[in-house]
Subunit: 364 residues, 5 copies
């Protein structure tokens, strides 16, 4: 189940776990209730001959036992809420308790760890939901064993289906390069999802930039802040992926053969590119913020100038006409026939003087 990027999203929801012994299996994602309607779906692909053989079910025995060693099996579990199922997996594949705990904790920081018999990677996929204008995130755990790969998803993921389709058409290279190559394919798909999300973010940045030149940009502040929050969130979740890939390249496990290394280096380059883009976006965003504040200041200046010019022009004139609106018995000017035109003359001179002053100050 995907989840929105709010502030609290930055904090792992560990309330349910507090007070439990370390190693207890508790799913911290969507609530149990909501999950009940979605029983976890398990699919497997066995790569032995030309065409991969596929199995599907809702329980572990449906896909067991695995084919012996030269065959490579990929098991994909969609739905994490069934803690009992996970425990069965743990037993069947001798997975460490802390690993299972990490898989269930869907607010896990991306990480990779190499244990005795298997290596596991936990990371996030992102998806931009246009309708809600928000980034949905899902946790993917990849467990690599000697001749199998198990992937645990929070929910069905169309990107993984694409990988399956590709493998149905052609799995020759996979059969020759083994577990490491399958992992590379999955990671490649996931890192591609980072590019898509960044593309969305970049588009929104550009829209914001364009809207800054409008007089009354709608909700620009909220949008800037939101983008910033999303960049912080993405950064926090993508940054560790670099380390993970770096670690995988240097790991001396039998699972990842040297033939896979160039592919991993390629992934590493992609991640660096994602990070570079993220950093550029951060710089661009902060540039936009500065620009927006400058625009506000500039406009305020503009508004103030109009006010000052209008006030400074008419306030003295209003005073002058006020003088001759007084009702004193003895006001000699009032009785002169030239009084009225003279006042107009004075007022015109005053106004002209003010305007010349503003001209000199370059306000008009």
């Amino acid at each position: 189940m995907s989840s929105r990027v709010g502030i609290r999203k930055h904090l792992p929801n560990r309330a349910r776990k507090k007070g439990l012994a370390p190693g207890s299996l508790v799913y911290v994602g969507t609530s149990q209730k909501q999950a009940a309607s979605h029983p976890p779906r398990i699919t497997s692909m066995i790569f032995e001959g030309e065409t991969p053989q596929e199995q599907e079910g809702y329980a572990l025995p449906d896909i067991l036992p695995l084919r012996p060693a030269p065959a490579l099996t990929w098991i994909n579990v969609e739905g994490l809420h069934n803690e009992a199922l996970l425990a069965e997996f743990g037993e069947a594949f001798q997975l460490n308790g802390l690993l299972l705990e990490d898989i269930l904790n869907t607010e896990q920081r991306p990480k990779a760890e190499t244990l005795d018999t298997h290596t596991y990677i936990i990371l996030k996929t992102f998806q931009f939901k246009a309708a809600q204008e928000e980034i949905a995130t899902e946790q993917v755990s990849i467990v690599m064993g000697p001749h199998f790969v198990i992937t645990f998803l929070e929910d069905a993921d169309p990107q993984f289906d694409e990988v399956k389709n590709r493998l149905r058409l052609n799995s020759r290279r996979l059969r020759s390069l083994g577990v490491g190559y399958l992992t590379h394919m999955l990671l490649d798909t996931i890192i591609d999802s980072y590019f898509s999300v960044l593309e969305e973010v970049g588009e929104r940045l550009e829209t914001l930039e364009d809207s800054l030149s409008e007089a009354q940009p709608p909700n620009i502040l909220q949008n800037l802040h939101r983008l910033k929050r999303e960049l912080i969130f993405l950064r926090k979740n993508i940054w560790p992926v670099r380390e993970i890939l770096n670690g995988l390249q240097q790991a001396d496990t039998e699972i990842i053969t040297p033939a896979v290394h160039p592919y991993l280096r390629d992934l590493y380059d992609h991640t660096i590119q994602v990070m570079d883009t993220l950093e550029s976006y951060r710089d661009l965003l902060s540039g936009l913020q500065d620009l927006y504040l400058s625009v506000l200041s500039y406009r305020m200046n503009d508004v103030m100038k109009v006010l000052t010019i209008m006030s400074s022009l008419f306030i003295p004139l209003t005073f002058i006409v006020g003088v001759y609106g007084m009702n004193f018995k003895v006001m000699p000017e009032l009785n002169q026939p030239w009084g009225y035109p003279a006042v107009w003359m004075i007022m015109l001179l005053t106004a002209t003087g003010m305007l010349a002053y503003f001209k000199r100050k370059r306000w008009i």
Copy 2:
């Protein structure tokens, strides 16, 4: 005794210590007087058979002598103000003088040190006190010997009681993994307290963010500043924990067995996650500050526009009506029957012109 997060809190209170030889034992926390009413309470748990044996007292002999080596003893001291008691502990367990000094100095920076016969860790627990809306902090010192763990608390701590309860129910894994595992359990509890406090901080951040869209957010500045101060405080006290855990993993003492390493790595991951969250919160907080300043600027702009529109609209009109309020004998317009409607006409035109100008400037 817990203490509030004020600015001076960032500085160790070393006034009482000035002018003393290095190594003198002085408790720098709550004053002696206040402490007198709370005699320090000592409890011990001995893990030998199925059920742990517990002892409790107010003096060291109550819990001595320790059981011989296969048995593991946990001694918990609640209350640090009794310097004499600590000196007794020092003698009974051959604790170094500088260590005792560090334990008493409740404003010690989190640290770990490995001495000849024991390793000790000093760190902080945090608790969010909803009533006073503040973060209370307490120092915890954990001394690990070959078959005992001594913990020194400033005051009774419910989190440690939970650990005890858990151990009463099941201490099998503890008995097999030894001192290192007990330390892991205690550290796990403490690091969980960091998550709780961060959750509170996150909630307050979100509340602040929501309140920014209100017209007159109450005390937003004070709240932002307070949160910032608290984040600085948390950061200062949590950051060194990372180093500590890193050091524990690499330490080659006999106390921490390799079987405990995965547990420590897990704790290390949690601390990294805490740090990441703290950094994200800092970024979010500074984002909120920028947002708030922009909101202020934006509203000022709004206010200025209203002022400028009203003034610029009516000041010229007031001038015009002022002109015909003058009392000159000779003002030909005044005697014309069309004078009054003509003035209205002029005024309407002026106003319309101004409004058109504002429209063009997109102020209205």
Copy 3:
């Protein structure tokens, strides 16, 4: 084909690649259609005797087979859109699939990689287009084999023509130093293009700085923001070049002989100088931004002072004349002959008092 620096430019355009197997050759630059009119042009220079021999064509066989080992061949391909051609190259020179993919991906991050038989470098040239006032960028890939260098350009590049002219006149040093020296010449040309672009940026920075002292600088905000965006873009593309040159110096391939090392060190120094200049420009730009905001604030202050002085001077006077414009039957002052001059006296005193106050406040 060159491309403009927009925000989305920061993101590699990988949309066309999504869902393809890793290693598929897809050109992500200009569209196929546009490219069809520009068939890729292939030129070769063979350095064997005094004068280099040149060949030119639109297909690979036109320039094959290469001369045997002591002869050095430089093959230059202008135009990347023909994916089939690139695949032929891959086959003829045994180029790795991932390399070919990198060459075609014109939004590749600058990188260098050493494979078994060849080393390749991918980087960008920049060109300031005065007409459009923008920075155009093009990707250059340099593949070094044992006795050949192949360069792939997106489009014909006058800088490379200059290199050719230079080699036509004198290729002695090239024949003695080999592949590494040719690479150095090409990189030197490319890094010189960085200096030219920076010179343009510096000139624009200086123009902006000068225009700040004008009263109504035109579009200063937009220009500042644009420069910032360009600096971010340049930085992102030039920064990795440092690493590349560093790597080349330390690489222990047979292609780059020790005699070339001083030349590479020289290039490295130039890149450091480019980076230093970029960083200085960033600092200067952010200084200009601060200056601009201060100038705005300062001017606002000025405007406000004029408004305040005018208003504070005349508003009380207007009130006074208003008082004696009232029509009460009984207003004793109105009937006194000294009434009118007395009011003038009071008004003069009021105005003088206000002016003295402003003088004391140093507003005038």
Copy 4:
């Protein structure tokens, strides 16, 4: 002689030295003249038996010759202006010329250096002078030889007198641990002076924070800036101390025995704590600055709102009454008996409308 923290303080006063050969001894602190009245005072403490033997004088022979090796001698020189005296010291104890130069240059950056026969440390003590509200600083040089320690102060220092008092009472540990322990005692005293100064700074920060909530905080800007300047100054002088202590721990001289290492590690921890506190203060200070600017903006907003409400409310009304103050012959409304109440009615409606608008905008 102590000196104030001004901007130029950040720069070593090397004017007097310019044009001299390197290694010339010139005292750059207080002028020669001023110093003449204060002849440098030399004291020595010899630690051999239970009670230390003390000597005092104004010339080097007063305290020579030193006792042979098992005895440990501490020579303290108060006053640096006598360059001849220092040269004598240099000869008597075979001190390097550059060392002597460093000792005299009272604007030396804190440093430690290990030469063939002795190690020397140069650092600063700080003292907060409440009367002048400023931080006074003094340079201390500690030269460690095989069985002597020479300390050079700019002036008499009460902190060193305390160390002496402590040693008069009990010097057993010193006699067993030697030169390294004496150095530790002196450094401990100096680092304690950092805590005192930080405590003062912290108190002033808190006072500033409290005063921010007042309406007219007195000199808040000047105070913030001053504190900032002082933090920059402290940072510059304390930061290198960390390196010094680190270096001392790793130095493999015979002067600092392994038994002293825990004491040095303790000092190192204290310095880290000082640095942490300094960094926190910097963050808090910059937080206060932001807060202050926000407070200013917020208040400006408040002021503007009052102005806008008052103006927008009365300017239209003043226009209306102006209309009926015109003296046109033909103004039908004026002759109607309902004219006057009708105008009041219109004005009330206008005012109510404005107020409703402000209410809706949440300005009132």
Copy 5:
């Protein structure tokens, strides 16, 4: 020839070099024409016996051949524009082509390089020109051979004359320590010029700080920006010197003997001190900028308050008097004898109320 610090100064002027083969000798400083009137002057000092022997001329043969090995020769060339002369030097002393190119490129980044037979250092001297209020910069190249040092200056430099004078008086130490010591003397002179320039900058910073408290500081913005630009410029040119000195200390050439190492370490310490001071100045400058912006905000607040008080006080009163200036036939109040005093009473009450409100708001 010295040059001003403008923005473009940050960029090496490489326009003249574009399109030339690497290694071509082109002087990029003052134009050829200007230089023609100043033929380069060559002086040499030979240190063999007590007094150095000096020679002077305008061509290389004037000072050749060098004395054999135990004698040490320092050749100083003032004026770089004669490219032919430099080429002669290159031939006579077997200097590398890239080195000569670096010497001529007067916009070279400070660097040091060790070649087979000689080591060279390129760096900048700075001089504050009080008349033009700007920092002049000149490039100095120092080439160290086995028993000679050649220095290339852009123009005659009084600092080098001082070094000569010092050597005329006493060259004993130089004769014993050799080439390394002469280099140290020259570098010491150059680094002293950094201190002088920083002292000037510090003085200007302090002047700016003092002028901030004045009401109308003249050109404070321009001055702040100018200082910032100069600090960026200094930083860029001084920072690499640290590396250079570090490199010299670690270089294992026969030219720099271990006896010179303490002198180099001393220079290194000075450079660190220069860097520290530069960084402090940057911090202080940015503090001044913040202070200035706060001062502007604070004053704006002040101005606004006066405006608001005056307007809010008189605008309602002006409305009231306007009411009774209306000419309605039926206005009962006008005919009452108490009308006029009653209006005064109402106005006094209104004004008092406003003032009380402002008092409560603490605006007055």
